[in-house]
Every structure is written in structure tokens, then in C-alpha cells.
């Protein structure tokens, strides 16, 4: 089956509009950036961290699938693979980000870096050349992983060689460790160092779960759009949806567990170094965002996803997933923005254009990659066995 035939749907028609909308929004962003570069880079970082997180989350869930198998993975594998291909676009988006470091980070600003002792203590790690070097290493590692994950999977479509499954499995174990280590470093670099005197050891894990959650949610929404398309229609069965829903539920619970662990320890310790991070995020206007996150990022989706009724129906499941995509975006905003706007949330129009701009280009790349291959893997030996089980 030819991949491009299979995609005669609404999704493939979105390819060009996505690119146009994305580029247009980015042009507007740059225009606004000429006016206020500081706000431009802050907004840019928010969009960048979110969309990069989705791409990396796709890689993580994909490797998890290769490692443990399960019928849920075959439904969304091609979507995840296309998601990892967007890392190339994100690598391109990194260049403007690196140019604006000194607008974003106190430690990258030559004046402020020497004014605060907390920053000077960390100068060994937080300095511009080392930061850029690390960023290059992260992207090299991620793109190398994504390259082989895609290459071997597509090769299996052509050659039906069952040994490739084993090879993907062997790559995914160490791959997940590499993912974990790089994302831990990256989250420290890009987000935690916005407030250089604060640190939390669980931060990298929270980031990983957020990435996996946003990627899973987005992919489930796209599955709904594609669920009428032929090879996928047979695969999107209630049991497979149930598995996807359970995975989403697991990520939601993990997010709550990790976030609560961090909050409880810092709340009870109440040490001046640490608690400021939460006083910035849970007082004033930000408290409302925090409550919104507790209710709609955890409580409501958690209760909905407990029910098999919801999990087995694609429309209900993707409605929950769509809600979670929005909440992940808000979560990212809540993590990043209070570093500057302590008083309360302030949604600048550049925030919107940055997210939409990068998202448009992301989707363009995603759909283009999705069209390259069949919508479901063709020759994975585990797939036949997995299909026989639920019958």
C-alpha cells in the first residue's frame, strides 16, 4: 500500500495551511520582536520548550513501545515516528533561541552574572559556551536516536525482516536512558536555570512525564482525525483504545505524583531558597493557574480515564486528550513565565504567535513525514500475535 494514498483525509489537506499559518505567525512574531526583543525571546522559549517537548515525548513513548510491545503501540507508532522527525525543525528553531540567551537568562547576562553570588557559584556549569556545547550534544543524541528508530522501522516495512524488531528493542533500552539523562540536563539548562538560585532533583523527571503526556495526548487527538482512514480503522478497536487510555491515565497519575512530591517537600521544608519558587507560582494570579492545573491537568482527566466507558470510545478519549494538550501548554507556561512575571499571569500576544508559529511549522513537518510511509507498520512480527489476543 502506498503511503500517500492512505492519507486522503482531512489531515493531509492541512499540510500546506499549517505551514502558511505557521510562517505567518512567525513573521508577525519577528516583527513584534524588533519592537521588544525581551518579550519576543521569552515568548519564543515558551513555544520552543512545548513543541520540543512534544517531539521528544514522541521519541520516549516510541522507545517504550519498542521495549514492552503491546497492541496500543502499533496504532500510533507511525504518528510517533513522524513526531520524532520534527526534531529537525526544532533544531532549526534552536538557532534564534541561542542568539537570545542573554535576554533570557540572568547568568548569560554579563552584568547580572557577577552581581549575584548564587550565579557565580554555578559559573562552572552555567556559561554560554558550555551551554551551547551541551545543546549541540543533546540534539546530536536525539536526532541520532530518531534517525535509527525511523530507519529500521521503515526498513522492516520493505524487507519484512523480523530481526529488525529485536534491533529496535536493543536500541530502545539504552535509548531511554540516554533520553532520560539528556532531558534531565536540558531541563536544568533551559528552564531551571531561569531562576539560578533554585534547584530541585526531581525536575528532570517531571519534565519527562510532561513531554510524554503532551505527546501521547496530541497523538491520540490525531488518531481520531485519522480513524476513518483504511489501515488504521481496523486497528482502532475498543481494546486498543482502552490500552491507550490506560497509558494516558498512567502518565496523568505520574505527573500528579511527581509534582506533589516536589510540592510537599518544598512546602514542608519552607526554606527561603526553595519556597520562593512556589510563592511565585502559587500566590496572586498564578494561584488560579495552579488550581486550574490541579483540577484539569489531574483530577478531571483522572476520574474520566478511570472509566472504561470513556476509554473505549475514540471521541470521548480524544476529547480528554485534547483537554490535556491545552493543559500541558498551560503547565509549561506556569513553569516558565513566573520566572519573570511574579505578580500574575500576563498573556502577551507574542506568546500566542510564538506557539502557533512553531506549532504550524511542526505540523507541516509532521504531516509531510506521515505521508512518506504506510500508516501502520506492515511487518512487525509482534503485531500478528498482538492482534490474535483480543479477537
Amino acid at each position: 500500500m502506498n503511503g500517500s494514498d492512505a492519507l486522503q483525509t482531512d489531515v493531509s489537506r492541512l499540510e500546506k495551511p499549517a505551514l502558511i499559518v505557521g510562517l505567518l505567525a512567525l513573521v508577525i512574531s519577528v516583527g513584534g520582536g524588533l519592537h521588544s526583543p525581551v518579550q519576543f525571546f521569552r515568548s519564543y522559549l515558551r513555544g520552543y520548550v512545548f513543541w520540543l517537548g512534544v517531539a521528544l515525548g514522541c521519541a520516549a513513548v516510541l522507545m517504550l513501545h519498542h521495549l514492552v510491545g503491546g497492541r496500543w503501540g502499533f496504532v500510533i507508532r507511525r504518528l510517533l515516528e513522524s513526531g520524532t522527525r520534527t526534531l529537525l525543525v526544532m533544531a532549526a528553531f534552536t538557532v534564534p533561541f541561542l542568539l537570545g540567551l542573554r535576554f533570557l537568562y540572568a547568568w548569560a547576562d554579563p552584568v547580572r552574572a557577577h552581581a549575584e553570588t548564587a550565579i557565580e557559584d554555578k559559573a562552572l556549569y552555567l556559561n554560554v559556551p558550555f551551554f551551547i556545547g551541551r545543546t549541540i550534544v543533546y540534539f546530536a543524541a536525539w536526532m541520532l536516536l530518531a534517525h535509527f528508530l525511523n530507519k529500521w522501522s521503515l526498513e522492516q516495512d520493505r524487507t519484512a525482516n523480523p530481526a529488525l524488531t529485536r534491533r529496535l528493542q536493543n536500541l530502545s533500552g539504552p535509548g531511554l536512558v540516554i533520553y532520560g539523562l539528556t532531558v534531565t540536563f536540558a531541563s536544568v539548562d533551559w528552564v531551571m536555570s531561569l531562576e539560578p538560585s533554585w534547584f530541585s532533583t526531581i525536575y528532570g523527571m517531571i519534565f519527562m512525564v510532561t513531554q510524554a503526556l503532551s505527546a501521547m495526548s496530541l497523538v491520540i487527538v490525531i488518531t481520531l482525525l485519522l480513524s476513518k482512514t483504511e489501515p488504521l480503522r481496523e486497528m482502532v478497536t475498543p481494546p486498543a483504545l482502552n490500552d491507550l487510555g490506560n497509558l494516558l491515565l498512567t502518565f496523568t497519575m505520574l505527573w500528579a505524583y511527581l509534582s506533589f512530591s516536589q510540592f510537599l517537600l518544598i512546602w514542608s521544608g519552607n526554606l527561603p531558597d526553595e519556597i520562593t519558587w512556589y510563592t511565585a507560582r502559587a500566590t496572586g494570579g498564578w494561584a488560579w493557574i495552579a488550581v486550574l492545573l490541579i483540577v484539569f491537568h489531574f483530577a478531571v482527566p483522572f476520574l474520566l480515564l478511570l472509566s472504561r466507558f470513556v476509554k473505549r470510545r475514540i471521541r470521548l478519549l480524544s476529547a480528554v486528550a485534547a483537554g490535556l494538550v491545552v493543559m500541558s501548554l498551560l503547565d509549561m507556561f506556569w513553569l516558565l513565565a513566573p520566572a519573570y512575571d511574579r505578580a500574575g499571569p500576563r498573556f502577551h500576544w507574542l506568546d500566542w504567535t510564538a506557539v502557533i508559529g512553531m506549532g504550524g511549522v511542526w505540523f507541516w513537518r509532521f504531516i509531510a513525514q506521515l505521508k512518506r510511509a504506510a500508516l501502520v507498520p506492515l511487518h512487525d512480527p509482534r503485531m500478528a500475535r498482538g492482534a490474535g489476543h483480543h479477537g
Partner: protein
């Protein structure tokens, strides 16, 4: 043997099968024949048998949900009442209503409530412990936990007729059909 059964009331007729498929087929036939009050005894769960003997679905999940809610609310009050109302005491400069610190115990007691309701709900709905049950009098019934599969049609069934039912059951590929006394 027969004489003694006359003296005591009859619980039902029990048929012994070699494998789960014969039992399942027999249960379906008995249901088609109009028998409703019957039960099966097997050494392992047999898929589809519960439906065949007329058991729709278990209400256990609902019971568990109630248990969990009781545990949750009770757990929070267990901490709120002493620390806020009965003996308010400033500890470590924390507010009296330290709700973040109350979450772990609330969570544990939610689960405890759910688990206890699951276990005792299961036992109660299954009528366990059952110190005495007539089927234990059936000959060779000790094999029901090992490798034989039994189907019992109870005497209470409106369509039960000792001779006709015995004839019907003998025609079901059963190894043996015997009477069970109360």
C-alpha cells in the same frame, strides 16, 4: 442409598463432566430447556459459564467505589478533627489545616477502604464462609477442586422433576448423575 434419600429432602441432581467444554455445553442446554436454578462447580474459572448459568455481572466495582469514598472522607476527617478542632496545636509553624500534609494519610485510607470493601464484599457476596453446603455430600465432589466439572440442577427449580431431569442430565455426556440431599 435410595431409601435414605426418601427420608431427607432433595437438594438437586448433580452431573459430573470430564472437561469444561462438556460442562459449558450442558449448562447451555439446560438453560435452553428452561432450567434456571442451577449452579456449576469447577476447579478453575471457565469463560462463559457464569453467563450460561444466568449470572449477569458482579456489582463488586460499585462496592469498592463506596469503600474508597468512605476511606477518603473518613481519612481526611480523622486528621482534620484532632489537628484543627479537638487539639489545635502549632507544630513547626504550619497552619492548623495543613491540607498538603494530610494528603498521604487520606490517600492511604482511601485505598484501605477500597481494598477492605473488595475483600469482604467478595466474601459476603459469595456467601463465604459457608460452613455447610449440601453439594459437599455429593459423591466424588472432592474432585470438583481438582479435575472434574459439576453441574447441579436444584430441586427448587419449578421445572424440576426427579425422573425427567435425571433423564435429561444423563443425556448430556455426563459421566455420572447423582442425587444430592440437603
Amino acid at each position: 442409598m435410595k431409601l435414605s434419600t426418601k427420608k431427607r429432602p432433595l437438594y438437586g441432581l448433580i452431573a459430573e463432566f470430564d472437561n469444561p467444554d462438556d460442562l459449558l455445553a450442558a449448562a447451555h442446554r439446560a438453560h435452553a430447556e428452561g432450567y434456571r436454578r442451577m449452579d456449576a462447580f469447577t476447579p478453575l474459572p471457565v469463560e462463559g459459564l457464569a453467563e450460561a448459568v444466568g449470572f449477569v455481572s458482579t456489582r463488586l466495582p460499585l462496592v469498592v467505589l463506596i469503600g474508597g469514598l468512605c476511606g477518603c472522607i473518613g481519612g481526611f476527617l480523622l486528621q482534620y478533627y484532632p489537628n484543627v478542632m479537638d487539639y489545635p496545636l502549632n507544630i513547626g509553624g504550619k497552619p492548623l489545616d495543613s491540607w498538603p500534609a494530610f494528603i498521604p494519610v487520606t490517600f492511604e485510607l482511601t485505598i484501605l477502604g477500597a481494598a477492605l470493601f473488595a475483600v469482604f464484599g467478595m466474601l459476603a457476596m459469595n456467601g463465604l464462609p459457608t460452613p455447610y453446603h449440601p453439594v459437599f455430600n455429593a459423591p466424588r465432589f472432592e474432585l470438583a477442586s481438582r479435575n472434574r466439572f459439576f453441574l447441579c440442577i436444584k430441586a427448587r427449580d419449578p421445572r424440576f422433576d426427579l425422573e425427567k431431569t435425571r433423564q435429561f442430565m444423563t443425556g448430556l455426556k455426563a459421566r455420572e448423575v447423582s442425587e444430592v440431599e440437603v
